[in-house]
Structures are given as structure tokens and as C-alpha cells.
């Protein structure tokens, strides 16, 4: 059965190639830092399960150390120039879109086939990992397509991939780091503390105040943890179930679904949701690393108000 470990082997190979290519890049003054950083990530993908918890902890500290003392740099290796790209683009035309669309297309067709045919029963792909496995398959198909059609130098995908990964830099591991921070928070009891604090501010019989507290609790806790999934069980246990559903008689489906979506408004406003908010800023080479969050706040706040209104009206008055 194809599961995440297949992808980890592939990703490990990619990062190992990035490490080697970084080490050979004479135009990057900090090439050894980059090589070590990508090399450690390759090791984590390949052998993470063998290192044990403590070994992985040391690996994390090494990554943090490399980034913390600014040992990562960027090369100025010659790829194609803007003029050359314009020329190539004019020559190749709209066919250039095809390989780029192969990845979403494989995801599209693959998900449909998996969810709506008997493919699920065959046990070919582990159901939990379907989305990511299809992403990997799409990437391989697109890569083969590019090799067959464009005939680039064999090392070009590695060189170009490294150009992009270098522009993201240390932010590459930030989402994973934040997820492990969440694990530590949970182990130290942060979630239960926040839940009991929220639960202790008992809204005095006012349904509207209860709704407000629940929604803001979701938003704030989501902003702290970087993800609404961590916030939901805590806020549901503290306010959602005992106060809104059991004491005030709210519609449980609304309290559950819209509560989660109120949390998503928080996800739009926090740097802790790094894969949605910080990595894209690096990927798009924005000057301000908080640029994406800045663009999202004016959507998130009115949307939160809308969600509170939906919670209140649909949850208690329909």
C-alpha cells in the first residue's frame, strides 16, 4: 500500500539533491550552511523514524542553530535571463501551461476516482494520505512530461528547485516546527489551561455573550496554536457543549460547524499558521514577511462578524 513513507523517501532524495547542489554553488557565500540545512532535512525524511525522539530533538536544534545564526544564504547562479524567458515563452506558447496543470489535474482526477469508484477498496493507496500521494504522482508525471518535451539538462529540475527553496530559506521548516511546538504545548497542558480560563468567564445567562466568548475563544486560541483543529476540542469542551448546546439549547450542528469556521478567521490572521501565511510571503518574494496576513485581516474581521451572526441567528433562532 502506498503511504506517506514513499513520499518521505522521494522528498528525502530531493532535499539530498538540493544539499549537494548547494555545496557546489560557488556563487553562494554561505553554501555550506545551506548544504547542511537541506542535508539535515533529507536525513529527517529518510531516517527520522530511526533516530528516536531525542535524536530528532537534536536534529531540530541543529536546524534552529543554523538558521538562528544566519548561516543560510542565496546563490546568484545563472539560470535563464528574463529576456531569454520571454523568448522561450513566445516560442513554446500556451503549451507551457500543460505540465503546470498536470499536478492539479492528477489531484482532481485521482481524488474523484478514489472517492467515487471502487478504487478505495483495492487498498492501493492509504486513504488518509490520498491527497499527498496524488500530489507526488502529479509531480512525477509533470517532471517526466517536461523531460520528454523540453529536454532540459538532467540537473535542471534540481537547480531550479533549489533556486526556489533557497528563496524560501529557513521558513521551509517553520510549519513543521510550529506543529511540534503545538505538541509541546499540549504536553505542558496549555490547552487545558486556556480552556478552563475561558470556561471560568461564565457568561451570565446571556446567549449572545456566550456566542461572543465562544467565537473569540476560537479565534484567539487558533491564532496562538496556528490551527483551528487544536482549538476546537478545547473550546467545545469549555463553552460550546456545556454552555451553548446544553444550557442554552443551541443547535449543535451550527455550534460545531460555524465555531470551527470562526477559528478559520483566526488562521487568516496569525503568523503561527506559517504554511498559509509566512511561506507564501517568502515564495512570492514579498518584502514584508507579514504581507499575506496584512492582506487577509480586512477579510477576516468582517467574516468573523458574519460568522458570529450566523452562530447567533441560525444556532438559536431558527
Amino acid at each position: 500500500m502506498i503511504d506517506l513513507h514513499w513520499l518521505y523517501i522521494l522528498a528525502g532524495a530531493m532535499f539530498a539533491a538540493f544539499a549537494l547542489s548547494s555545496a557546489r554553488d560557488g556563487t553562494n557565500p554561505r553554501r555550506w550552511g545551506n548544504a547542511a540545512f537541506w542535508g539535515l532535512i533529507a536525513l529527517s525524511f529518510w531516517f527520522g523514524d530511526l533516530f528516536g525522539d531525542l535524536g530528532n530533538g537534536v536534529l531540530v536544534l541543529a536546524l534552529v542553530g543554523l538558521a538562528g545564526v544566519h548561516l543560510l544564504g542565496k546563490g546568484s547562479q545563472p539560470s535563464t535571463s528574463t529576456e531569454e524567458r520571454q523568448r522561450l515563452s513566445d516560442r513554446l506558447g500556451n503549451k507551457l501551461f500543460l505540465p503546470a496543470l498536470v499536478i492539479p489535474l492528477v489531484a482532481f482526477v485521482g481524488t474523484l476516482l478514489f472517492n467515487y469508484t471502487s478504487l478505495k477498496g483495492l487498498g492501493l493507496i492509504e486513504p488518509k494520505s490520498v491527497t499527498l500521494v496524488l500530489l507526488g504522482v502529479g509531480m512525477l508525471v509533470a517532471l517526466l512530461y517536461c523531460y520528454a518535451w523540453l529536454r532540459p539538462p538532467a540537473s535542471a529540475p534540481v537547480e531550479e528547485g533549489r533556486r526556489l527553496i533557497d528563496s524560501i530559506g529557513w521558513a521551509v521548516v517553520l510549519p513543521q516546527m510550529l506543529a511540534s511546538l503545538g505538541t509541546v504545548f499540549a504536553a505542558a497542558g496549555v490547552g487545558t489551561t486556556i480552556g478552563s480560563m475561558a470556561g471560568a468567564i461564565i457568561p451570565s445567562g446571556s446567549i449572545f455573550l456566550g456566542v461572543l466568548l465562544y467565537a473569540f475563544g476560537m479565534v484567539i486560541f487558533t491564532m496562538i496554536m496556528g490551527n483551528a483543529f487544536a482549538a476546537f476540542p478545547v473550546m467545545a469542551a469549555a463553552i460550546g457543549v456545556p454552555i451553548l448546546i446544553q444550557a442554552d439549547g443551541g443547535n449543535p450542528a451550527v455550534v460545531g460547524a460555524v465555531g470551527m469556521l470562526a477559528g478559520f478567521c483566526g488562521t487568516l490572521m496569525t503568523p503561527m499558521a506559517a504554511n498559509f501565511n509566512i511561506v507564501p510571503a517568502a515564495l512570492l518574494e514579498l518584502k514584508n514577511q507579514y504581507g499575506v496576513i496584512k492582506a487577509q485581516i480586512p477579510t477576516a474581521i468582517p467574516l468573523l462578524i458574519a460568522n458570529i451572526a450566523i452562530l447567533y441567528v441560525a444556532g438559536f433562532h431558527l
Binding site: 482532481f108 534540481v158 506543529a179 450542528a253 460545531g256 460547524a257 477579510t299
Partner: protein
């Protein structure tokens, strides 16, 4: 007995991010401080951090698309995306992004969350198209305006997927809601929950879509 000390770790994160220290360093320091204050010994904290890192490797799988995207950029993909938009009459930044917002929401509602995303769609296609549409209407953009449009393209992707995916029955967050409520004896079907994601999805489209139209007007005004 409630322990308030571990909350200091949250304060460290907030301060560290606000002062713009390296975020990896901030997170590591906060994790260690939180763990120690929560009564774990150092090696236990380090082990927990390491286990969390290892268990969450899947969030970094997305970078697998970078070699393909980079390779296509070498052959002029971004330039092609721009050329196509310039040839499209009536395409403005706002309208283009509204189209993408709708596309992303509908796809996510069908369970197709991987159709889209920052590495595979926004950087190579959506962002250059949005910029090109603005340049076509308003001429060369300064860096701040360019960054603002690119940031809006990324924001549109996020809003679209967040406020589309919960309409799909089998998405992780719906299953999490169902599971959490079931532990209190409240039994709901995924369908009952996902129906209630629809009003929020409509609000998200109207609010963010409205902002995108406003962006068009602001771009126009800035030019005069």
C-alpha cells in the same frame, strides 16, 4: 489545579514574532520554556519537540512540486501567464482573483483541496496573471503595489480553500467536529455539519470578492 506558568511560552512567541527575531529560534525557545515551566525535564522537552517534528513531516511534502515549477519558470511560464492575461479583454486584477476565489471554493467544496495552493498555482500562475492584469490597465507597477497584488493573490487562495473545504463531507475538520461532539454524546452526521458551512462560504465570497473589486478601484485611483 491549573498551571498558569506554561502560558509564558505563548507570551514569548508573541514577543519574539513582534520583535522579528528569527521565527525558528523563537519557536524553539518558546517550546523549551513552555515544556520546562510545564514541569517536564529538559530531555523530555527535547524528545517531545523531536517527536512532534518527525510526526509532522507530511506538512513539508508540498515542496515536492518546486523542481517542476522552477523548471517551467526557466522556460518562461510566468511570462506566458502574463502574456495570456494581456491578451484577454476585460481582465482586471480584481475580476481575475474573484474568478480564482470561486474556482478554489467550488473545488474545495468537492473535496479537491489540492487543486490550487501557493507553490503549485499562486506563484507560477495566479500571482503573475494578477500583476499582468494590473499592468495592462495601469502601466508599470511600483514594488509596493506589486507586492500588494501578490499578497492579495495568496490571500485569495487561503480564503477560498478555508471557506470551501468544510462543505465537503469527508474533510478532516468536519470529522474532527463530529468526533469532538460525539465524545459528549452529541451524535451528528457529516452532512448536518457541512450544510452549515454553506452560509459562511457565501459570506466569505461576498466579503473577499467585494474587497477585490475595491482593489480594482484603488488601483485605478492610484494612477490618476
Amino acid at each position: 489545579m491549573i498551571h498558569y506558568w506554561p502560558l509564558l511560552g505563548i507570551a514569548l512567541v508573541v514577543i519574539g514574532f513582534a520583535l522579528r527575531f528569527n521565527p525558528l529560534l523563537v519557536v524553539a525557545v518558546s517550546a523549551i520554556a513552555t515544556g520546562l515551566l510545564g514541569g517536564l525535564d529538559f530531555l523530555k522537552v527535547l524528545g517531545t519537540l523531536g517527536k512532534g517534528f518527525n510526526d509532522n513531516r507530511y506538512v513539508s511534502i508540498i515542496y515536492l512540486v518546486l523542481p517542476v515549477i522552477g523548471l517551467l519558470e526557466r522556460y518562461g511560464l510566468q511570462q506566458r501567464a502574463r502574456t495570456m492575461i494581456v491578451g484577454l479583454r476585460g481582465a482586471t486584477t480584481g475580476r481575475l482573483l474573484i474568478g480564482y476565489l470561486a474556482f478554489r471554493q467550488v473545488m474545495a467544496a468537492l473535496g479537491l483541496v489540492a487543486v490550487g495552493g501557493h507553490a503549485q498555482m499562486v506563484r507560477p500562475l495566479v500571482a503573475p496573471m494578477a500583476e499582468a492584469a494590473a499592468e495592462k490597465e495601469h502601466g508599470e507597477l511600483d514594488e509596493a503595489t506589486g507586492d500588494r497584488i501578490k499578497a492579495m493573490a495568496a490571500a485569495t487562495d487561503n480564503v477560498g480553500v478555508f471557506f470551501g473545504e468544510d462543505i465537503f463531507l469527508a474533510i478532516a475538520s468536519i470529522l474532527l467536529i463530529q468526533g469532538s461532539l460525539a465524545s459528549f454524546g452529541i451524535e451528528l452526521t457529516p452532512f448536518q455539519l457541512s450544510v452549515w458551512a454553506i452560509p459562511s462560504a457565501i459570506c466569505a465570497f461576498l466579503i473577499h470578492g467585494g474587497r477585490l473589486l475595491l482593489l480594482d478601484r484603488q488601483l485605478k485611483r492610484a494612477r490618476r
